[in-house]
């Protein structure tokens, strides 16, 4: 067995059934080993697609996503996808071929310092220097990717090591138990909660990563504390729960933001006080004490100092914090705000109102469908107006905000959950960022549905230009977009264009009932904005609302 064959066996040992990649010179031995392997290799059309498909696979399944690329440009194309995984704490293992060891540092063909490039955008990275280390390194890579706060891990393997004689070490199953939060801080947290009059539960993506969705829902059911979620936390709380106030932050629901701003205790669970959540940091929840649950110690006090820090496994800890609370008055206040600020769909204008269409899509989707978004206005409309029962069903690039995320993430999700309906909601800017992945959809005849919301603009940037840059629309007009239906048909993907609200229900039906892939191209008004909005540098209670 050579090193390349060892890589395939190590992937199988880790339970990997599908991986995403693109071959090239320095990784040819590994691709040669794939030739007779049972692991499904999905050929993408750009390595960025491979990394983002691995992210989509990981997010939809909860397992580690795997991507591969060759040295040089193959590896550099992975970088954005790995950065996306890093910012959103997604477990991914990336394997890159490297030029042969004696050539490293000689500016050889397709040589780039991948280890150096990986440092700021991976949880850890390895350059394999001796074939005897290869098996252990691959085991460590998977263990690191999924343990603690998950993240991407890169393994760079020089070609000579792929070709060297190798031996696969036995799989060591030494999973370290996650420690429980310290008793003294739990006692502190309990005393803070018992004294609180206006507590709010602030739920982030860390809950799903900790596998603690059920425990969090039980905590909510047993305490009935008003609750808000971050973009990455969407799906963690049941959307119809009476205490659920929606997403907070820049494009959050007013009720969610106002509840947080008025709270005297914020229970942050797997959330990190991101600037898109807090608005102007020193005005965020100004009267609130903080109980902070997290697996990653560096998050405590990074942006907001906690009064009780619950470091470790949140699953048993959440139940320990439960207690009867006399906060009926506060619950009623939050209920009233929820009622007052609930979404309205009575838009003026004759065109298709995207929020309303997305609400209809949400209602029409089969149970347990997956929606992946790109980045921009449509992404915020999905977060606001669609409802998700599981965090594994809402794939949205939160930390990095990667335009071009949606299509490869949908491809990854469709491989992870072949029986699920997978919809990529995208914009006319974002879709072009990884449009080449239509080739992957065609190659595997994946039944991915693409809902393209087209305003012929880079809509979110245009919105900010309108509001904050004196309507100076610099480089945001995309009225020269390609003919998207023709483009899709070149990949054997059928579809239709709709322009009026009456067409929406039947068009959504046609898309969802299509057996294979489908493009629903939806033309909307270029002037439509995402509301409400916390302007840059403002406090979250100072949201701008739509002028009607």
């Amino acid at each position: 067995m050579n090193g390349a064959q060892l890589v395939i066996k190590a992937l199988a040992q880790q339970g990997v059934t599908t991986c995403f990649g693109y071959p090239g010179g320095a990784i040819m031995p590994i691709y040669d080993a794939f030739y007779e392997s049972d692991i499904q290799h999905v050929l993408v059309r750009n390595e960025q697609g491979a990394a983002l498909a691995a992210v989509g696979y990981a997010r939809a399944s909860g397992d580690v996503g795997v991507c591969l690329a060759t040295s040089g440009p193959g590896a550099t194309n992975l970088i954005t996808g790995l950065a996306d995984a890093y910012l959103d704490s997604i477990p991914v293992v990336a394997i890159t071929g490297q030029v042969a060891s004696p050539l490293i540092g000689t500016d050889a063909f397709q040589e780039v310092d991948v280890l150096g490039l990986s440092l700021p955008i991976t949880k850890h990275s390895f350059l394999v220097e001796d074939v005897s280390e290869l098996g252990d390194i691959l085991q460590q890579a998977f263990e690191l990717a999924r343990s603690g706060r998950p993240g991407p891990v890169l393994v760079d393997i020089p070609k000579d090591i792929q070709l060297a004689e190798a031996e696969l070490p036995p799989l060591l199953l030494e999973e370290e138990a996650t420690p429980a939060p310290a008793d003294d801080h739990m006692a502190l947290a309990r005393s803070l909660l018992s004294a609180a009059e206006r507590p709010v539960l602030y739920v982030g993506g860390g809950v799903a990563l900790a596998g603690a969705v059920d425990e969090l829902r039980a905590f909510l059911d047993n305490t009935h504390i008003p609750a808000v979620t971050t973009l990455k936390g969407i799906g963690t709380l049941p959307p119809h729960h009476p205490r659920f106030l929606g997403m907070l932050g820049m494009h959050g629901n007013q009720a969610a933001n106002l509840a947080v701003q008025s709270s005297d205790l914020l229970i942050a669970v797997g959330a990190r006080f991101d600037d898109r959540v807090t608005g102007k940091l020193d005005t965020f929840a100004p009267d609130a004490k903080i109980i902070h649950f997290d697996i990653d110690e560096v998050e405590f006090g990074k942006l907001r100092r906690p009064h009780a820090l619950l470091h470790g496994d949140m699953k048993p800890a959440l139940a320990k914090l439960e207690m009867p609370l006399e906060i009926d008055e506060w619950r009623e206040q939050c209920d009233a705000m929820k009622q007052k600020y609930k979404w309205r769909y009575d838009a003026p204008g004759k065109g298709i109102y995207a929020p309303s269409m997305l609400r209809q899509l949400s209602d029409q989707l089969p149970e347990n469908s997956v929606v992946s978004c790109d980045v921009g206005q449509h992404q915020m409309w999905v977060a606001q107006h669609m409802q998700f029962d599981s965090p594994h069903n809402h794939l949205s690039s939160g930390g990095l905000g990667t335009m071009g995320f949606g299509m490869p993430a949908a491809i990854g999700a469709q491989f992870a959950r072949p029986d699920a309906t997978v919809v990529n909601v995208t914009g006319d800017g974002s879709i072009m960022m990884n449009i080449q992945e239509l080739g992957t959809i065609k190659r595997f005849n994946l039944p991915v549905k693409i809902l393209l919301i087209d305003n012929e603009r880079l809509g979110m940037v245009r919105q900010w230009q309108e509001l904050f840059f004196d309507k100076r629309y610099s480089e945001t007009n995309l009225s020269d977009n390609p003919e998207f239906l023709t483009l899709a048909s070149a990949f054997d993907i059928p579809g239709q264009l709709i322009t009026s609200p009456e067409q929406v229900p039947a068009a959504l039906d046609a898309m969802l009932n299509a057996k294979g892939p489908y493009l629903l191209h939806v033309a909307i008004d270029a002037e439509e904005n995402v509301w409400p909005l916390v302007p840059p540098g403002a406090a979250n209670q100072d949201m701008m609302e739509k002028q009607s």
């Binding site: 440092l119 700021p120 990275s125 801080h185 110690e297 560096v298 006090g301 009064h307």
Partner: protein
């Protein structure tokens, strides 16, 4: 404000780069540094003095998170994050 830390880490090709990158990116400037590699223990010991307006505990935490780092100890005058209700 200046702080001095003692760092114990595995001796790996990118160890020093990782430490310096995190230090810079998290808003700290290196003012003085000494490193010794120990072949027998496969480890390096680094003494580094950094300057920043940011709390040193933030850097200590980020450096401690690095996979190859075994420990980051602050010199006596550098205060860790204190939590009070």
């Amino acid at each position: 404000m200046m702080h001095t830390m003692q760092i114990e880490a595995k001796d790996r090709p990118a160890t020093l780069e990782r430490l310096l990158r995190v230090t810079r990116h998290r808003g700290f400037a290196v003012r003085e540094m000494q490193m010794n590699a120990s072949a027998e223990r496969d480890s390096v010991t680094i003494s580094v003095t950094v300057a920043s307006d940011r709390p040193i505990s933030l850097l200590q935490g980020q450096l401690s998170k690095l996979v190859d780092v075994a420990s980051v100890t602050l010199d006596a005058e550098s205060q860790p994050l204190s939590i009070t209700a």
